[in-house]
Amino acid sequence: MTHRKFFRMKFAALAVLLALPFAPGYAKTLNLAYDADPVSLDIHEQLSGGTLQLSHMVCDPLLRWNQELGFDARLASRWERRSPTSVRFYLRRGVKFHSGRVMTAKDVAFTFARLKKSDDFKGIFAKFREARVINDHTIDLITDGPYPLVEHSAAFIFPLDSAFYAGKDARGRDKGEIVKHGDSFASTNISCTGPFTVRSREQGVKVVFERFDGHWDADSPGNVRRIVMTPIKEDPTRVAALLSGDVDFAAPIPPADLARVDRSRKVDLITMTGTRIITFQLNQKRRPEFADPRVRRAIVHAINNAGIVKKIMKDFGTAAAQQSPKGYAGHDPSLRPRFDLKKARALMKEAGYADGFSVTMMAPNNRYVNDAKIAEAVAGMLAKIKIKVDLTTMPKAQYWPKFDERAADIMMIGWHSDTEDSANFTEFLAMTPDKETGYGQYNSGNYSNAEVDSLVLASASETNPETRAEMLRRVERILHEDAAFVPLHWQDHAWGARKGVHIGRVVSVTNSPYLGDLVMD
């Protein structure tokens, strides 16, 4: 290319760029920055936030979570429970894959079978026996026993194009194969039904998505034609890119920068009550004092968790008195935070520990938002009821092995339920630890209550939502009364977007914005 020609081209490109914004029907492009781009285009390779974000862009689930923690119909236009062990899904008609094929129940069955094969996803579908195709637009999901969380699981079924993944590719690989961290046909090719197709992808550099014109959801208000996703790993760099206008949308926003993003006049900060509960567990095996419910209650009464939310979390959280956030089946609105120093002291006295005692405490310092500061504040609050706390904070890489050893009397843990369901919290955090079944795997407090155990186990096969919700609420009340653990707060989610990018309407607690419905001014 000669010099002059090069210049002419450059000039032409510049002219086009300048003209673009004024061209009629200007195609809206969304520049977005996440901390990482998806590791693979195979949506069944890794169960992670990145994969789910990709799934919601390129694919559509049978149904998806809405902002009220209910379900919106997507590829399934409606569904009904036919028996305790089966739920029938009626599929939307005329849904097209990116390949042009029309989706049928066979594709859903193929996807279901593939999920059962995926190391990461099969846990979610462990209780499912099969997906039985009734006709082209009807499919039954059959569970082994009565199972209440069929919808919760169906939110993870993003039907893939079964014909696209059939047979072998040019290199003789089975197209449908799932290879973890490896090279497979599915990890670089995808055909789904979602609002966007992958136009180009450079791993770790950028991914360009283009709107799929054949998308079934013609009613979607979304007007984004193109998405350029750039991974920016460093928090300050990502925030700087957002504030300077280099990107229209960035997530996650680190807590240290929340205030700065909030103050900016060019950028909107969108927060949403999260569903991750932060707690402290009081180890009854290490400390006989903690086996006394009065001491545990005294500790809960001594901790001003609303103060922690206000002062340390700067209101980017909600003070908790139970595990289940609002919207969950087991959430009991009558349970309120119980900070009351006088009562705490009285309880300590009643238990015979008016002079207090010394305990050890451990917390991570880079896992949860402000984790080390929260631990420090809690240690200070316990000093007021004469419990002297020796606090150690450490990076999460060192913390989890320590947690598994149950290395301190009081340990911090946060928990988010994959299925957005209450029972999941108790199964892992409050049921009697049992190596064989895996229940109580993260119950470092060794709290054990036969009634809680049996209620949670029974809830796993209770298919009447009202009865089940009452069982789970009862669990929360028992845990509250027993002060089984110290509830602190639910952490908020935070996203940042340029003004005019109405991201607030498409985010949800699952942390995967539904970008297909995004409206940009």
Binding site: A256, D257, A259, R260, N304, G307, I308, K310, K311, I312, K314, T360, K373, E376, A377, A379, G380, M381, A383, K384, D390, T392, T393, M394
Partner: protein, 303 residues
């Protein structure tokens, strides 16, 4: 014996005549008094967790129009900044003074021995000093404290952090003293009065202690002022890197570090006030040190 009063009046007159020195001395005295008398003056005890409340966190200083109890505002945990700074300054000064005393103790012994006996002992000790000097203090301190912290665990570390920091800074900086004292000893040992002492059969230890050591005092005094300031700064740097005093018993450096993350969120006072106090402390010590050097240097003796 009769030289003492004469020297005193001389020093005082010189101090009063030099306005910078006089102001520095006044500032330093005030700071020392406030810091060491912190338990008497401070409105709160910042080491007692029962005395602060999370609900008082990040209250701006007076004039920001907040709370009369907290003249200089509060930090992120609701600690009174004024009290924390007074106690913190006390810790910083204690670290500075004791680390310097340790440096002096090691340095003077090594320096005197090297200078007086000379020969192989001298080469050996001075090469060690050279090696020690080739590692910067901060690097040595970071390595030792990090290893110490990792091996004994944070809990033990928090209890003995003060001792550990004094030891590390003291050990890392002794060559400064050793070299100065050695140079003095080399110069002094050739003088007639030392020969005379030797001739009358005094043992080397007595000669070093009674005759040579007192003659090294004036340079020692000057180094000491610089070294106290240096030790305080080193501790502040270590604290900033997370290896200084723990947050439960913060020094000035830990307070500055503590407040650093609040700067962007607008709570400037948590880091600014301790930083100002640190600057005032270091500056007054250094200015006094300058004045002392001028006073004790015969070549600059102006009157």
């Amino acid at each position: 014996m009769n030289a003492a009063p004469h020297l005193h009046s001389n020093v005082l007159r010189s101090l009063l005549r030099d306005r910078t020195a006089a102001v520095s001395a006044a500032v330093l005295c005030a700071l020392l008094l406030a810091a060491l008398g912190a338990p008497l003056f401070a409105p709160f005890d910042p080491w007692d967790q029962t005395q602060f409340d999370i609900m008082d966190a990040e209250i701006p200083p007076l004039g920001g129009g907040a709370d009369a109890r907290f003249v200089l505002g509060t930090d992120g945990m609701g600690r009174d900044m004024l009290s924390a700074m007074l106690y913190g300054a006390g810790i910083s000064i204690v670290i500075g003074v004791f680390a310097t005393l340790l440096q002096a103790a090691i340095g003077v012994v090594v320096g005197l021995a090297a200078g007086y006996f000379g020969g192989r002992l001298d080469s050996f000790l001075m090469r060690i000093a050279d090696i020690q000097l080739s590692f910067t203090t901060l690097m040595v301190a970071i390595v030792i404290l990090a290893v110490f912290q990792a091996s004994v665990g944070l809990r033990f570390y928090e209890e003995y952090a003060l001792v550990a920091i004094v030891l590390v800074i003291g050990i890392a900086e002794w060559p400064q003293y050793a070299r100065t004292v050695r140079a003095c000893a080399l110069a002094e040992k050739k003088k007639e009065y030392v020969d005379a002492a030797r001739v009358i059969g005094l043992p080397p230890f007595t000669i070093l202690r009674r005759h040579i050591l007192p003659n090294t005092f004036s340079p020692l005094l000057v180094i000491s002022t610089v070294q106290v300031a240096n030790a305080i700064i080193t501790e502040a740097s270590l604290a900033f890197l997370g290896l200084g005093m723990p947050v439960t018993k913060p020094s000035l450096g830990s307070l500055i570090r503590n407040g650093f993350e609040f700067i962007f969120s607008g709570a400037w006072w948590i880091t600014a006030f301790p930083a100002l106090l640190l600057v005032a402390l270091i500056l007054s010590i250094n200015l006094l040190g300058d004045w002392l050097r001028d006073l004790l240097n015969p070549r600059l003796y102006r009157r």
